[in-house]
Subunit: 877 residues, 2 copies
Amino acid sequence: MSKKYVYLFSEANASMKNLLGGKGANLAEMTALGLPVPQGFTMSTEACNRYYEDGKVIADDIVEEFYEALSQLEKINDKKFGDSSDPLLVSVRSGARVSMPGMMDTILNLGLNDVAVAGLAKLTGNERFAYDCYRRFIQMFSDVVMDIDKAKFEELLDDVKEKKGVENDTDLTTDDLKLIVKKYKALYIVEQGEEFPQEPKEQLLESIKAVFRSWDNPRAIIYRRMNDIPGDWGTAVNVQAMVFGNMGDDSGTGVAFTRDPSTGEKILYGEYLMNAQGEDVVAGIRTPKMISELQDTLPEIYDEFVAIADKLEDHYCDMQDMEFTIERGKLYMLQTRNGKRTAAAALKIAVDLVEECKLSHEEAIMKVEPKQLDALLHPTFDPNALKEAKPMARGLAASPGAACGKIYFNAKDAAAAVELGEQVILVRLETSPEDIEGMYAANGILTSRGGMTSHAAVVARGIGTCCVSGCGEIMIVERNKTMTADGRVFHEGDYISINGSTGNVYGEAIPTIAAELTGDFGIVMGWADEARTMKVRTNADSPKDAIQAIKFGAEGIGLCRTEHMFFEEDRIPAMREMIVAKTLDQRVRALGKLLPMQKKDFKGIYEAMGERPVTIRLLDPPLHEFLPQEDADIKQLAKEMMIPFDELHLMISNLHEFNPMLGHRGCRLAVTYPEIAEMQARAIIESAIEVAEEKKIKGVPEIMIPLVGEIKELKYVKDVVVATAEKVIAEKGVKIDYLVGTMIEVPRAAITADEIAQEAEFFSFGTNDLTQMAFGFSRDDAGKFLDDYYNKKVYESDPFARLDQKGVGKLVKMAVELGRKTRPDIKLGICGEHGGEASSVKFCHDVGLDYVSCSPYRVPIARLAAAHAAIEAKNAY
Amino acid sequence: MSKKYVYLFSEANASMKNLLGGKGANLAEMTALGLPVPQGFTMSTEACNRYYEDGKVIADDIVEEFYEALSQLEKINDKKFGDSSDPLLVSVRSGARVSMPGMMDTILNLGLNDVAVAGLAKLTGNERFAYDCYRRFIQMFSDVVMDIDKAKFEELLDDVKEKKGVENDTDLTTDDLKLIVKKYKALYIVEQGEEFPQEPKEQLLESIKAVFRSWDNPRAIIYRRMNDIPGDWGTAVNVQAMVFGNMGDDSGTGVAFTRDPSTGEKILYGEYLMNAQGEDVVAGIRTPKMISELQDTLPEIYDEFVAIADKLEDHYCDMQDMEFTIERGKLYMLQTRNGKRTAAAALKIAVDLVEECKLSHEEAIMKVEPKQLDALLHPTFDPNALKEAKPMARGLAASPGAACGKIYFNAKDAAAAVELGEQVILVRLETSPEDIEGMYAANGILTSRGGMTSHAAVVARGIGTCCVSGCGEIMIVERNKTMTADGRVFHEGDYISINGSTGNVYGEAIPTIAAELTGDFGIVMGWADEARTMKVRTNADSPKDAIQAIKFGAEGIGLCRTEHMFFEEDRIPAMREMIVAKTLDQRVRALGKLLPMQKKDFKGIYEAMGERPVTIRLLDPPLHEFLPQEDADIKQLAKEMMIPFDELHLMISNLHEFNPMLGHRGCRLAVTYPEIAEMQARAIIESAIEVAEEKKIKGVPEIMIPLVGEIKELKYVKDVVVATAEKVIAEKGVKIDYLVGTMIEVPRAAITADEIAQEAEFFSFGTNDLTQMAFGFSRDDAGKFLDDYYNKKVYESDPFARLDQKGVGKLVKMAVELGRKTRPDIKLGICGEHGGEASSVKFCHDVGLDYVSCSPYRVPIARLAAAHAAIEAKNAY
């Protein structure tokens, strides 16, 4: 049997969503449930894919099926296309696997032609209505199917209105509308060189093709990328008999949810309009009424609708979003689907459905999208205060949340103000690693330059601080400590507010509300923890981060970067002294100054984490990042360090790298300067011993060696670490356990993971770097071409946000298999930013990682995503 | 049975080279042949590896075997260690699988102590000789085994000589030597805190350990890296009874080759000294005699030696390098091995041995090291002229060969002088891509800055031009057009000569002699071509390179880079115009100017190559490489292009990349600017058609898309290329064939090669980039730490010179297998610099590539290496 591409609503059901799209499958399901649905058929998503494969034509076998369905449709509805007394009219609507509202095209009133318009007039007894439909259909078809500029039709309409001296479309007479139809049809000939198609079947086939094409229009591509929808899913097309809500006072149309989509409250929630078509409800020309008022207007219809709504919610075990039309006192259901809802509503509905005994815990948590939680994890503006506020500029929504504070123009001033208890927004042209201290301290960060992957954006997301980047409308003069926006000049200490979820910047103080993980959120998270098998750790570099992460449920630290610690003002001099040291002695002396500082950091983190595991990564970035680049700063440093300026300048320029990403960093630093690794190992072990003795907290530090590509390199550094650790243990006379492992972030490490595992007690996948090196482009530079790649459909999503499973994932899988072959009990985790992204978390579960680690604010997302992954895997059996 | 670690010479043979080292295996073989060899035993290379594994101790089981061998040795020689009348004395010598002359330690006269010295005196009747041996032994043992500074012993010796008022050691009396022995033994106590060891077996065990340790001394590590010798081979140690060539006028010692190692001529070639020890032949205090003179001195011994030499050459079927000693009229063989020889001698010997019917063609070519040929492929100085010359400075030997010419200080002047027929040396502080034209034109390149991987060095090696880089002793002032070296000032047009094989720079003109591939070279190459199964292509960007490569036997072009063509002075303006274009129209207009230039290049190359395949790579480098970076140059360009300076400056700084290696380049350029690929595809196809019509040369151009990481990216660019090609073919009405394929140089491409092969008709492995991305370090930056990596034994060889088979090679293998799975007839080649390195060529053969491609000057090396690989693979069955 050859493949079937066209299904009548009566031939399908809700389980066929992948083939028929959400709308089509649900129309079929409602038909099967015996609900009043205008009948029709669905061209499958496979028909769409065939259309593209066959070079944007519908193949003959599919056309044949289509004609067969069409004649069935005429039979079912007992109407004929183009009939002069009771013509069959249809709507043509897209319908992908998941809803992509407004992204693709729709055509209504299809089937009208010079004969059928008369039939419609006769049927409705309303000639004006019939011609109004016809002129709308001509315009819609010409626009959507033939790509004729809509404005040209609007012009003709305006001409007639002007000549008639009327203002509204509704003031046009039947004759006016007939004239307009005539003009429209003539315009069609002018544009297309042929008559407006009179054959309804031809109209329909062309419309279907246009909907298929709209799957690939630019806004659909962008929407898919934003929502991680694969391009090869394709869209189905639904052809459905028209019903009219605008046939008089016993007709109407509306939309409703079975629960409040903002709060999740269990009440029928929606709007309707009598004597109106669907568009009118949305268009806002007339004010729709609350659905509850329908009870008074049409009590029987209302009761019928409520019964249907209950039935549908019970049937789907989820809150439904429905569209209906009433034609001359008869109710028709045009759509139902699981309704979109806010994060808060999603949680409440999940909890309520469990309480109502409709869902199990596992079923309930599958109803909450992990990604959605993000909105609940950051401070937000007080909604009342926000109502009055108007943004004065808009930048990129670089890191979510809302913040309000006094502006400061450099990291030092910002940090100082925070010390004094101020709320602070750090304002910079762009940030650099030297600004870290101020970035950590500030409540929010605003930059006028740099994109979504700029330093400011990346760091802010990592630490969960709200950030608006690349806000070019604001002119910042750092040396004057001023910024100008919307004609106003702001000085240091002035209040502004920023929203990192929208990119909006406000020239005033707007109070914020902190995030809370209580109530429904806590309940759902509890269920998620029951369901998941993978641990969730956090990336945290400070006790403050660690405490926040524990509040969000982190079970350990998967990545504690040690370099940020060295950027702080009281530490960077010793760091710089270490870097410019000319002899081993000098370097060891400088490292000696850093040792107590590192110990203090580690003790704080151990105390915050209790006995949870803590993975500490040895120094990673190239050393030049710690040195000043501007002559003035170099002069200052030379003076402080008592080195001639020229000498220091030469040292710094010798540290310059052509490709810092591929330079002298990671474990390479420890190979050339083992004394750095020695100092860090000493700090890690000494502080663990001290915390064990002083606080009775006995953790097992995991020492992580970064950027390893070859086993001998790992072994060299590991030997240094172990020798130091054993020495410290002997000195202190206290035995503690520790692990030594490595990041897998260089492709060669993944490929030779069987060897690497001989030395590594754990692997942590650094998928940021692994992505850069596997693809061969750096995050900082890829911005120059990634947009072109999205537009040309080469990539569908940002591989830095969503793990590239086909390439990078294959490396991860290879490393997991090779690593386990050598060391079956090797501990495996991920600490790249992917550790907090749902599809990547699922991948990590499926390849068998022990844990994911992500920034504190993504921990709840990862917990829920890990639960989803475990449940899906279980259900797949 | 437990493993055997110690072998008597009588227990082994030549096939055991891996286990016993070359020296040990050959001593055993000579023993088996019945030749007069002082007997002894060999501690195996596995004993050396055990020594390291066990933490630098010799395990008890091995010590036991050692004692057993020792007592056998006493029996065989009928002498006892420490005997007071006829003591057994031995030499202790290292011996790895391949000869590493002078890299490891040797100890002679071992077994002497206070008793044995008297025995030796009695035996030889020469007390002075005995004490001279003893004091030498004490010093040698203390230095080599105990690491006591040799200079301290020399000082004591000098003291005694001063007090006695003598000048030469030979003037010291027996009593003086006894005094010295006394002092030496006291010094040993001072340094070691214990007596000089009197027990010969202890002396011996410590000496063996010292030789094992010497396997890992820094000069041995460097030697191994230079000669691609794996660190895990280990060295064997040979313990052999001493014989003395210094026992009077019927004693002597010498070294000889069965053929002349410089020319290959078939004559016994060597030197000897009567009444001398081995060291004296080399030391140069007395002038050794030609081996032929031995015929007069000791005719019987001479005849015996000649007979042995003939026997050994016949036995090994190769030229032998032998050491012998005559002790009181008896000949002893101390060593034989296949002798090192010059490239010219290697070729002559190979050809002669075939003519003498001793070797087959295949056996003969296995006797020639591919790498060695390099010396024959570049111009050299006229040896007579060189004798008089003294270098005035020395830089890095960056690209081999010799050159002589007038100096010019910028590329433009250099190119202009070449046009006028001058011989030219381009002298620069350092070179940049803008200098390409002058670099191509010059006979040699000299820079005062930059290392072995600087722009000058890399480009020069690629085009086979002699280059000395980083010659810091020379001060160059480019704007004055002067350079100062050794106190002399040179001006534009003055003659100098440079040797890129040694790094020497001469302040005068030294005539050069061109390389020739005639005579023996041609014969051996012919045999190599018979034996090999893999094709050898060349990387060539110009007709000049192509012609040179064909002379060297290239069978096609594996990589024609198109970017160098754009750096030429008459072209770069159009290129820059293209880059700074603000609209598609402007860019297309600028590309229109480049089209005829590209066509001219391609036609020249097609004509030079005849119908051999030519792979042309589309534009690869980031665009900023074509733009000036200095303000003055930008100003000039702004003026030429009639753009405001600020605007151009901003454009250029917007093109800046943080990691250019991982930036907007390769096929990414064609995705963002498909019109560039269109122009290049048009140029490739139009010129192929024109050459087919005008010259009747019908090639099949292979269009190569670089830096692909994802099939959709390849497909996008391929679609542009194919559409253009088909359009051109339709326009011209001439059908020609062409292939479209890709570089595999991004790890993700290797991993997803099954997908990529759906679109690619060929793969060419770009192992330079693949190495950078797999290891995660860039060639330009790795210099900062690679030396530390070699010193710490993390890497043994430069992965950019020798393909890393374990990591990068695994990616290549994976891609080969995946690619062939999808497209069984896919054409596979390599075009990284590894394509001309012997071990990498063998790897390419073994994984089944169709061809390797390398720079023209490496083509003969690759041909021979491919032959070696084919023969080795055949013999492995």
